[in-house]
Amino acid sequence: MLETGKISALQMGMIIYPVLVSTAMLGGPNVMAQAARNDLWLTPFWSSLIGFLSVFIAIQLHKRFPGMTIIEQGKAIAGTVPSAIMGLLYLLVLLQVSGVIVREYADFIAIFLKETPLSVISSALIVVCAFAVKGGVEVLGRTAQVFFPMFIVPLLLMIGLVFPALDPGNLFPVLDRGLLPSIKGAITPLGWYSEVFLISYLLPVLANRPQGTKAAVWTVAGAMITMTIVNLVTLFLMGDALPNILFPIMDTARYVSIADFFENMESAVMAIWVIGAFIKVSMFYYATVLGTAQCLNLTCYQPLIWPIGFLIVLFSFWGIPSFAELGAITLIAIPAILAWSFCFWPGCLLLYAIVRGKRSKAKEVPSG
């Protein structure tokens, strides 16, 4: 086995939670409001359905092939040659998605750090993430655990402080154009939720496997609740202007003003975003590195870390000349790729495995 570390189910949840919500922390409410308007509170529910489906697929695959990641499962199900082709395609997807995530991070930071070159911002993130990946899954799990409160507390604090400025009336009229707009708004978040499939890389290293399912389901549910709350808060604050404001949560934090001196909390949101992006990129990075190593039958994955990190930085520039282009990519293309690679393709593998009655031959003894 390439990965020798062990993490707990709770740590897995704490890694995956920022993976699901950190992108949404930035432009989520705006993206959803563009289609759903004031019905955006319902959107996370629709899109979380694919999250639950992905969890189901990952768990079922793992039940049939315990101790394997999706790459190894692909090998076991589809045979060497087809799975190698699929695996490489899969890794390309991971690289591209990681690149886009890094770019989103860098573009947001660049709004405030105008002079700093984009490459420096993204490389700095990748370097830190590389150290985390180098440490293996245990380091990833522990950093996620340490950062989790730093991710949640500023968010709750912000909501509490901005509370007096909220107008719940903005919720109305409820569903005046039917359910369709709220479903349309769910297209982009679909991609975020399908990312929960990354548990495929973490389930094999769980110390307490029976709790894995529960942790994964709760993570998706938690992400859904978080997004719903954040959507409601931004809607209550911004109302009709929400579809025009690109980074609503940052603007919400900036709106906080208590007694004239407790103001301008956007640095707290920046912290949320940096921490979230760090965990998210680290997880994607880790999945790419581990997947590549497994695909190529390497005996250790560490040598791949720096080259792949370099590739991720490159992918964050290739084909993305501007924020508008980035927006166009992240609205439809990326969710489609994500849903394909994290839900549809593993689902097909699972179906094929069920139809052909495939399971791993030697049942691994569950540890912990």
Binding site: I111, F112, L113, K114, E115, T116, P117, V120, G169, F172, P173, D176, R177, L237, M238, G239, D240, A241, P243, N244, I245, D251, R254, Y255, S257, D260, E263, N264
Partner: protein, 389 residues
């Protein structure tokens, strides 16, 4: 050895700060207020009031030294004018502390929409900053050196925070321009006439009414008193004093409403659009100029009746202008109809102004007088003249 070298290198790296976006406090010019004035259809004049930090440390600098400096420039739009203003200020302009944005009335009449974009797009200006329309030239207001506050922007900001008039933030304005009724309102400010002998600049700006916008263009102004009515309808009254006349009595009674709640209930009955305005307010007596003691339930009831009538008149006055004259829905009636009757509202959305102007408004006011203050009879009135019932 290798490890030690790595440690030294690491320490060196740690000492190097980021260089690209390094900002030192003495390299930035803090904008405290900005004024925009109309020049021609192709030019806008931008004036910024910049805080002078030296004036703080001067100690005995005295009152004659200005706390702020003002620089103006013309440009085709705000960003263009801003780049020219920057040529006249030796430090990098920073918007993060600018809480006052003043549009000249003439500019407002030509349309504001294109002058909001810059501030909403730029990452520095705060969404909580207050927006105003000035009666005269906006840049004149920046030049005032008010006796009480440190600079004019401070006066205006504090007035808005007192909530004595309409207070509209940058975010509110964005919301107003995004809402389906196409109407917006901004507080207006003017300069007080300075007392004759004093320096002409020793005065301060004050809030004196409301500028009414339709489709981004200012179409008229409401007086102080009418603004009060609008505030009642918008549920934004917070610390106003209501002075009433009691029926069949000489003199006035002043009340300070401490709590007020306005509820708008839209109603469509048989195709007739109607707005029910429910107001519940309570206040304390702050001055009694009548002969009544105002400490029996009957007298209080008469005073409450007077209070109701006064609020009623304010609202009627406001509606007559807003609804009939300007046909601009700055009292959020459209929003309420949209929320309760989305389909019906969608049908009239295009000519909402017309529907709004023909809307029937029914007001129901509940006024309560809770406390008499510290004395029980009209102060300074001979006992014989006091009416106890």
């Amino acid at each position: 050895m290798k490890k030690r070298l790595a440690l030294v290198l690491w320490l060196c790296c740690a000492c190097l700060g980021g260089c690209w976006d390094r900002v030192e406090i003495n390299d930035v010019a803090l904008v405290t207020a900005v004024a925009m004035d109309f020049v021609s259809d192709r030019a806008v004049e931008l004036s910024v009031q910049v805080f002078v930090p030296r004036s703080l440390s001067g100690g005995d600098g005295g009152a004659n030294e200005a706390m702020t400096l003002i620089r103006s420039a013309e440009g085709v739009n705000i960003a263009d004018a801003m780049s020219k203003v920057q040529l006249k200020i030796p430090r990098k302009v920073f918007w993060g502390h600018c809480k006052v944005y003043i549009y000249g009335q003439e500019l407002a009449r030509h349309g504001l929409e294109e002058y909001i974009d810059y501030y909403a797009r730029h990452p520095e200006p705060r969404n909580r900053a207050f927006m105003y329309v000035s009666k005269g030239k906006a840049s004149e207001l920046l030049k005032i050196m008010p006796p009480l506050e440190r600079y004019s922007a401070e006066v205006v900001r504090k007035l808005s925070e007192l909530e004595v008039g309409l207070a509209v933030t940058l975010l509110d304005l964005q919301k107003m321009f995004a809402n389906p009724t196409n109407a917006a309102a901004l507080p207006m400010i003017d300069m007080m006439k300075p007392p004759k002998k004093e320096r002409p600049q020793a005065t301060n700006p004050y809030l004196f009414g409301t500028a009414v916008f339709k489709n981004g263009k200012m179409i008229g102004a409401l007086s102080d008193r009418t603004t009060q009515g609008v505030l009642w309808l918008r549920d934004e009254v917070s610390s106003t004093t209501v002075t009433i006349k009691i029926k069949d009595e000489r003199g006035f009674v002043s009340l300070n409403p401490i709590r007020e709640k306005t509820k708008l209930t839209p109603l469509i009955e048989n195709g007739k659009w109607k707005m029910l305005v429910d107001i519940e307010t309570e206040g304390d007596i702050v001055q009694n100029g009548t002969k009544l003691t105002l400490n029996t339930p009957e007298q209080i009831a008469r005073a409450e009746e007077g209070m109701r009538e006064d609020i009623q008149t304010r609202i009627r006055l406001a509606l007559s202008q807003v609804q009939k004259e300007f046909k601009a829905d700055i009292v959020n009636f459209g929003r309420e109809f949209h929320r309760k009757y989305p389909k019906e509202f969608a049908a009239v959305r295009e000519n909402w102004d017309q529907v709004f102007s023909e809307l029937e408004v029914e007001t129901k006011i509940k006024a309560f007088i809770r406390r008499p203050g510290l004395i029980s009879v009209p102060g300074g009135l001979p006992e014989a003249e006091v009416q106890t019932n």
